[in-house]
Subunit: 199 residues, 2 copies
Amino acid sequence: MGGDRQNTKAEILETTIPLFANRGYAGVSMRQIAQAVGIKAASLYHHFPDKGTLYIEALAQAFSKYAAFMSESFALQTRPEQRLHHLIHHLCIIVHEDDNFSKLMQREIMDGNEKRLELLADQVFSDFFQDMNELCLLLAPDHDPHLMSVSILGQIIYHFQITPIRPFLPGYSPEHDKAEIIAQHIMNLLTNGLNNSSE
Amino acid sequence: MGGDRQNTKAEILETTIPLFANRGYAGVSMRQIAQAVGIKAASLYHHFPDKGTLYIEALAQAFSKYAAFMSESFALQTRPEQRLHHLIHHLCIIVHEDDNFSKLMQREIMDGNEKRLELLADQVFSDFFQDMNELCLLLAPDHDPHLMSVSILGQIIYHFQITPIRPFLPGYSPEHDKAEIIAQHIMNLLTNGLNNSSE
DNA sequence: GTCTATAAAGGGATAGAC
DNA sequence: GTCTATCCCTTTATAGAC
């Protein structure tokens, strides 16, 4: 910001990701993108043929960054319970620190056509989700691993998804926004169910 | 559709709800709304002063409809386990049959300003969420009821949220899209945790 | 590689006839 | 209560100077 510009294209993408994440494809104009970058709208067309391509490339950049993060969780070869613990805490921290990824993903799931969704699934989630399924099969052999994976991911993502409205819901305290607290809660609920004993 | 039009304003709202749910506020134009209703764009301004008001009224209609549905779950005075069972199955069926509500809610959480979010929380969720908190306190006195409620809601909503991309995720089978299957899975996971025995 | 200028289309909204 | 016609602004995208 304010420095010299060695790689304008990369800078455009970095600037654009949070704009699309927060306001959606139709909610952001090329002029607004240009202004955020610090150039004129016409200059964007030197780097990208049209708005749609700019959006797709911003998506790809945002998703590739997080696909790398996610696969980290399974590099460690420890006990399944520890791997689940590590996975949940890791994901909570990632989603908590930067919500662009989950916002873009949500919008894609709502707006994206079949081709884009299939690409997203194959290139970003496929390996990660496969690993989760295997972990679920180890931890809960009597449950359907696909449903299990979705339930775990759903809890994590939803807890951060509702951050903007959470303060207005009954029983809220600022503790409920902290990644560590949420991670502990989810881990506890998963291992013990409602019939808790250890917390 | 094609019949006579006794109450155009109500018909506009009904037609508009799925448009805004699927494409978002910025993604739908007044001309497109008018075309879907079967009138000209100028006629919309006889019923609503501007696009923003039309959107708010469509939101209010969609939300009030489902706020009524949701409070049904707690009318029955039975054992807590049965109330949870009923709540989960009921919510799954509602969200499964009509996804406009959850899509609009998602978009509001992402796009809405603080005032709109506070209204949404107070007028739609407050009572329902309060009841959920009390139920959670009965079922799992050692868990934080607010986090517990969010975890339960999150699982339910997320399972249907990802419907468009689910077929591309590993381990998918068409069974995983059925409301009853999902409800059973969630109920089972909540009561037993990962260490399942009964399924 | 960025700019100014501009074309072409679509957006929200209003006036006034019927 | 709906229509046609229109205003004015914003949008995407291109052309061509620098």
